[in-house]
């Protein structure tokens, strides 16, 4: 974990309300692993007061550059969208515990901006010659980030939109379910996206029974593990249920241990 100042190399709008930042910061770029995030200070004043967490979406240690993929949702992300090339950005990171290797083939399931950590994961897995399918769901085509700029050619991309404007018509989870029913089975699923998507994956996995990891979000203050603010209920070994920290033990957890999804999925 480093407290450092990154420089904005490049800012690009990539979809409706969605932009990327390429940040020059060698220490973060060379130490981050897929699923980890950075905690970014957006104002030197008190508004907004707290930092904001964003997943690392790509890293190039040789260049000393890492990238963020950000959706503008509120005051903080709006401020960040206004940042100019060459400006400094106060970053704390890399933080958290990322994805853990499983069994190939890997199916990555992204809902909307949840694509961010999975893009980094897809790049890393591809470098290790692991077979990857990337399921990418959005509400409509306008929200879609052109992933071909991020994904290696060997990664097979499966598109889904809820309004049918691109690819499979319906939820990304339904696209995955269709494939699994047809016998296209992963050894490991890694997912990040809205709560409803993760909940549906947990429900479907009662039938699939495939090892699955989720990258979770929770409101954060310190993002280092010091404040216990980002607690999520996790069923640990021996049936113990404890609050773990999304910023420290997470953000990636084994799906079946996330009590919230598990309980509601099986009820």
């Amino acid at each position: 974990m480093f407290l450092t100042t990154a420089r904005v190399r490049k800012k690009e709008t990539v979809a409706r309300n969605c932009f990327t930042l390429s940040l020059k910061e060698e220490k973060i770029a060379s130490h981050c692993t897929p699923g980890q995030f950075v905690h970014v200070r957006l104002s030197m004043g008190y508004d907004p007061f707290l930092r904001r967490p964003f997943s690392v979406a790509a890293a190039d240690p040789a260049e000393g550059v890492f990238r963020l993929l950000i959706q503008t949702v509120g005051e903080g992300t709006r401020l960040l969208q206004g940042i100019q090339e060459d400006q400094p950005l106060d970053c704390l990171g890399p933080l958290g515990s990322g994805f853990v290797p499983g069994e190939a083939p890997y199916f990555l399931v992204a809902g909307g901006i949840g694509a961010a950590p999975l893009l980094f994961l897809a790049q890393t897995l591809s470098k290790q010659n692991q077979p990857v399918r990337f399921y990418y769901g959005t509400a409509s085509e306008a929200e879609r980030v052109p992933l071909h700029a991020w994904l290696p050619a060997t990664v097979e991309q499966i598109d889904a939109t809820e309004d049918g404007s691109k690819g499979f018509s319906g939820r990304v989870t339904a696209a995955l379910d269709r494939d699994i029913l047809q016998g296209i089975r992963p050894g490991q699923i890694m997912a990040c996206g809205p709560e409803a998507m993760l909940r549906e994956l947990a429900r479907l996995n009662a039938t699939w029974k495939i090892p699955m990891q989720f990258s979770l979000e929770e409101r954060m203050a310190c993002a280092t593990g010091a404040c216990q603010g980002c607690a999520v209920e996790i069923a640990e070994e021996a049936g113990m249920i404890n609050y773990l920290r999304v910023c420290r033990e997470g953000p990636v957890f084994e799906a079946h241990k996330v009590v919230e999804f598990h309980a509601k999925a099986s009820s």
Binding site: M1, C227, Q228, G229, Y243
Partner: protein, 305 residues
């Protein structure tokens, strides 16, 4: 080099800046970013006899110039603290103050008895002001009689400096300070968080899992400074001031209001290098002003009383 050492009665700190309880965990988290030995003191997360699970999430929410938290004193409990956390802190020679909590008087007394002769603990801070737990917590810090009885009992078993952390959620904080002083407190620290609430307008429900939380950060600083000022007049005890400190300017307000030391809480989350920066800035401030000790600043705002 100016000497930054301060003395709060028999508690001697190498500089007047401490990490406030609950905002620095047990030190481990920030070890990569700063030299923890440089801290005046590290006040560890609120400790209870038995492990505490903590409150239902969400536990934190941002507010204007601050935040609400409702952690609910999640901590590993006394045994685990002694077996795992304290040895590591001692090995790194970090000056430790333990913040103790309980649902009943006997919990505080047991904790104080068990901890007071453990090597490597500088002082105990009695947390009678946590707004986020159902039992105990703030209830001990809002009635002078209840506070007196508790402080007296803890003091009887505690051979190291006893700090009583006051709640701002009272009408007259001077009265609480006097009650603590009469009953044997050695030092007072203030303020703990101010009870507050945020409503999620989408769900039309309070946002925090605990419904209410404690407000901290720059938003509470003027309240905290006023209370330090009042308590300085109400008692003769050394004071540790806190509430929204992020810069030397903020810290100076607390010193001048009457504090001998200053703690940083939520500021650590925003700028994890706040405390090392305060130490360096105070150093050059004292040099510039030709002052020979931070103690010179304490209570300046009261003029020649």
């Amino acid at each position: 080099m100016q000497k930054l050492q301060v003395e709060l009665g028999s508690l001697v700190l190498k500089n007047p800046f401490m990490a406030a309880s609950g905002t620095f965990g047990f030190g481990e988290e920030y070890a990569n970013i700063m030299d923890l030995q440089a801290l005046g003191a590290l006040v560890v997360k609120g400790l209870t006899l038995k492990p505490q699970k903590g409150n239902k999430p969400p536990r934190v929410v941002e507010t204007p110039a601050g935040m609400l938290n409702a952690i609910g004193l999640q901590n590993p409990g006394l045994d685990s603290f002694l077996a795992r956390e304290l040895p590591r802190l001692n090995q790194q020679e970090i000056p430790v103050i333990v913040n103790i909590n309980g649902a009943e008087e006997s919990d505080f007394v047991t904790l104080a008895r068990e901890l007071q002769d453990v090597p490597g603990i500088l002082a105990l801070e009695l947390n009678v002001s946590c707004p986020n737990v159902k039992e105990g917590g703030m209830a001990f810090g809002t009635s002078p009689a209840v506070l007196s009885s508790l402080v007296e009992k803890v003091k009887r078993v505690c051979g190291i400096p006893l700090i009583v952390k006051l709640s701002p959620n009272v009408t007259d904080i001077g009265e609480m300070a006097r009650a603590a002083e009469r009953s044997g407190a050695d030092i007072l620290s203030l303020i703990n968080t101010i009870k507050g609430m945020v409503i999620d307008t989408h769900t039309a429900r309070p946002l925090l899992g605990n419904l209410t939380g404690g407000l901290s950060g720059p938003a509470i600083r003027p309240v905290a400074v006023r209370m330090v000022y009042e308590v300085f007049q109400a008692t003769g005890l050394p004071l540790i001031g806190m509430g929204g400190v992020m810069s030397l300017q903020d810290a100076l307000e607390f010193f001048m209001a009457g504090a001998s030391a200053v703690a940083v809480g939520a500021g650590n989350f925003v700028a994890p290098d706040t405390i090392p920066r305060l130490i360096a800035d105070l150093q050059s401030y004292l040099e510039r002003k030709g002052m020979n000790s931070p103690a010179v600043l304490t209570g300046l705002a009261h003029g020649s009383r």
